[in-house]
């Protein structure tokens, strides 16, 4: 695989930056000034203030990992079909990592895990205009060449650590990512929701495996992931029967 972008539109326009606070923030700033082409990718080699889940940060060592944001204009039925966007992007990122590694999973709703460790994160920001998605900023962070992780930030890993300590060219990974995301994004555009949903469940981390979960209240219970509902909620079988959860209402422990 080389660094050429073998895609129809994703990554055809590439804005490279040596250093940025966050690629998502840069995308926001640029979109305020002008319209960006569908599929524009923003790449930062050193992202010093990466964003994660509300209030969380995404730490990425400089020049070792992939931090990018892709601008898309998905014309999907909002909010009914918005979770399919999440699924399609998650499958694209998963496929990209699966090009080098095995045992790659999507942890609900959209983290990417290798074995039991987090390797990539996704942060999607939609602008909602008149109850439709105007643009989507799809932020993706993949741990590529990082060899060590500070303690106390969960259990992350990198392609490097899982792939016999082979260093990869960030732009090669980006080219692969653009192509993999495009494949799934095209399915979304074509309305192949059943296929997206079915493959998402095929790679859903811990699906059908009984284990311990913790509620936001702190209560621990034994449960098993059944499926993810079309609106994105998690359906689990518990001793109280089937129960559904929103993101942050429940965590794996």
């Amino acid at each position: 695989m080389d660094t050429r972008f073998n895609t129809l539109f994703i990554g055809k326009v590439l804005l490279e930056y040596d250093r940025l606070d966050s690629t998502n923030s840069q995308a926001e700033r640029l979109l305020k000034e002008r319209k960006l082409a569908d599929g524009t990718a923003i790449l930062a080699y050193d992202q010093f203030s990466g964003r994660g889940q509300m209030g969380n940060s995404w730490f990425s060592e400089s020049y070792t990992n992939l931090t990018t944001s892709i601008i898309l204009y998905p014309k999907i039925d909002f909010p009914k079909q918005q979770f399919y966007l999440n699924q399609a992007i998650a499958l694209g990122v998963r496929d990209c990592i699966a090009y080098w590694l095995e045992d790659v999973w999507v942890k609900w709703p959209n983290d990417i895990y290798v074995g039991g460790k987090k390797i990539a994160g996704i942060l999607i920001q939609n602008s909602i205009q008149r109850r439709q998605i105007g643009h989507s900023i799809v932020g993706v962070g993949i741990n590529v060449n990082q060899g060590e992780f500070p303690e106390g930030i969960g259990q992350p890993t990198s392609v490097y650590l899982e792939n016999g300590k082979n260093v990869l060219d960030i732009k090669v990974v980006l080219a692969c990512l653009c192509s993999c995301i495009e494949k799934w994004y095209m399915k979304l555009k074509q309305g192949k929701y059943d296929e997206i949903e079915s493959v998402y469940h095929q790679f859903l981390y811990m699906k059908g495996i009984p284990r311990k979960y913790q509620l936001a209240s702190g209560d621990v219970f034994q449960g098993e992931i059944e499926r993810v509902l079309p609106d994105g909620r998690l359906e689990m079988s518990t001793h109280n029967g089937l129960q559904t959860f929103m993101f942050k209402e429940i965590s794996m422990i």
Partner: protein, 180 residues
């Protein structure tokens, strides 16, 4: 009566020619005055108390003017003509004239956030002027961050929801005064 029912009722009243609407259901009493309401003229008249057991059957949308239900109201209702109310709006009435406020509603079930992250300033606060297309908040659903752009222009008069709290579909998030 649910908040939603009241919203619905206010909408119906707005569409009608009513100048004032009062309903009572047990201890619950609701008074709505529209821009047709003129202080002096209406004061002279006894407000009509219409007992309404079921809010959804109020036939407000079907009546062009208040239907007199008590004998003393059989005389023509001194209703302010719409045009004059528009031409000469009663300024002093505007402060409690919440029926004219526009709403920014949640297009989705999720979690309401007033700022892009906890350390950042809020998108919009009371007193701010927003224009159509300005981002006023985020509603997060399953890790999708939806930046909600205002569909209306005006001054924010009220933030209806607490930061970081769950919101329902169509829940009112902000009240906006279009004249602000």
């Amino acid at each position: 009566m649910e908040f939603k029912d009241i919203q619905e009722l206010v909408k119906l009243i707005n569409k009608s020619n009513l100048s004032e609407f009062i309903m009572q259901d047990g201890d619950f009493k609701l008074t709505v005055r529209t821009k047709n309401y003129i202080k002096g003229k209406m004061k002279a008249m006894e407000p009509q108390v219409v007992p309404v057991p079921q809010p959804q059957v109020v036939p407000v949308s079907h009546v062009p003017a208040p239907v007199p239900v008590q004998p003393q109201a059989a005389a023509p209702v001194p209703q302010a003509p719409k045009t004059s109310a528009k031409d000469a709006p009663v300024k002093s009435e505007e402060t409690d004239d919440t029926a004219n406020y526009l709403e920014v509603k949640s297009p989705i079930v999720g979690t309401f956030y007033r700022s892009p992250s906890p350390d950042k300033p809020v998108y919009a606060k009371v007193g701010d002027t927003v224009s159509k297309g300005d981002v006023v908040c985020i509603v997060e659903a399953m890790k999708l961050f939806n930046e909600i752009e205002s569909e209306v222009s005006g001054k924010i008069v009220k933030v209806m929801t607490e930061d970081a709290s769950p919101v329902e579909y169509d829940q009112v998030l902000f009240l906006v005064d279009p004249k602000g």
